[in-house]
Symmetry: C2
Subunit: 246 residues, 2 copies
């Protein structure tokens, strides 16, 4: 049992907190600036946690297709970097990830994570088939690491609206990283994509309050003082697990 | 089962390779330069793996003392940074680490990892008691993250020789990170410290060939091409574990 968070919860007995867009951004800024975490370090921690969530939600033995294929769609920013790290770890866990990465970032960190995947011989699609059946047939699931909490969902630029149209039609499960692409951070989208699995990073966002799929939370690394300051009321993580199913 | 490494082993049927100092350095250079891993990222991966090894070798329920105290001695360079990350993760796993960090590095990465520990309220000793009984009484074990494979063991400067004298006398177990401090990378020390646990990073070094204690290997993240190039013949890691007991 986690002493500090258990104490905090005993004092408050409050339910898990769901973050606004501003709170999520403030926590990340504080982690980087005051707690001196590195972006590279956080992305590695989050990406590995996402891969572990996939092994729990979709164990190798449960996959419908003969090959343990996974399509990982990576956006140009931090959410996409997390997807790249997730793909690398999935490869080590014996999955066969394929990356679709429509816009490469000019950010050196993002490029480094891309090279790490290339050097692990993880294939990359140059375009996404518009024929949805091809995606349904080729992969067991899609990981949506496109837009994340920083995106302005009212103003998504190509190629992402087109990809979302495709994802709304796929029949294989979608697992979204932190915030499903196209959703507002604070509200689920009524006509958007419909992920079966959501992996919340650090703490869940308001859009996940009524999420009815499998919901994982990956945020064990979070310093206790931040947990208290933002009254996150995080659950106790079992054993040495870096994530928990809510 | 890990397809690629299993194939590599089936072809060669060679035993696990133990690295020379030069090979260990070459692999690290290649990871950073060609595979574009970041130092921060590698240190996070290694430090977390060390903490997991400690949970396996010394589970909370097995500790002799009432408090799950651990003394983590951190050197000024990379091995020390790994110790800092290990301490941070141990804190999250409900251990009570205390850091002894005699020389702070001027390197910004090392300072960042130090701040992360301070912000997790991990206490730090300003000096190491010379009265060994005080160490035996206060801690369940010592983690030796002092010198690592880059140190010139024939030319260790103060305060480290004095700390090694103390560590040779402690009765509680020592767990060493990568290369026991004071040992040559390629040869165990006859009159040096005598760790009960060794956590080899990436691949074991030559000094570990006849190591008789509990020996863990943490190197699952290693790209398959590097494993092949250096003929590492790494074992298959079970499930999603990032380390294996040899």
């Amino acid at each position: 049992m986690n002493h500090s968070s258990a104490e905090a919860r005993a004092e408050t007995i409050e339910p898990l907190r769901y973050l606004s867009k501003g709170e999520a951004a403030a926590i990340e800024t504080e982690l980087l600036r005051d707690y001196r975490f590195g972006q590279q370090q956080l992305i590695e921690i989050w990406g590995q946690a996402c891969a572990l969530a996939i092994t729990k939600a979709f164990p190798l033995s449960s996959l419908a297709k003969k090959q343990p294929t996974v399509l990982v769609i990576c956006g140009p920013d931090q959410n996409g970097s997390i997807g790249l790290v997730c793909a690398r770890h999935l490869r080590m866990y014996e999955y066969e990830p394929t990356i679709y990465h429509p816009q490469r970032s000019s950010q050196s960190l993002h490029q480094d994570f891309t090279v790490q995947c290339e050097k692990m011989d993880i294939p990359s699609l140059s375009y996404l088939p518009t024929e949805v059946q091809l995606i349904n047939d080729a992969y067991n699931l899609v990981i949506d690491a496109m837009l994340g909490p920083d995106a302005d969902c009212a103003n998504i630029k190509e190629p992402y609206p087109g990809i979302l149209v495709t994802l709304k039609q796929v029949k294989i499960p979608i697992a979204s990283v932190d915030v499903p692409s196209g959703w507002d951070v604070e509200e689920p989208s009524q006509d958007g994509i419909n992920p079966e699995v959501l992996i919340s990073l650090t703490a869940p966002k308001k859009c996940a309050i009524s999420f009815s799929g499998k919901h994982f939370l990956a945020g064990r690394f979070l310093p206790y003082d931040i947990q208290k300051k933002y009254e996150l009321n995080l659950p106790d993580y079992p054993g040495t697990d870096c994530l928990i199913e809510l």
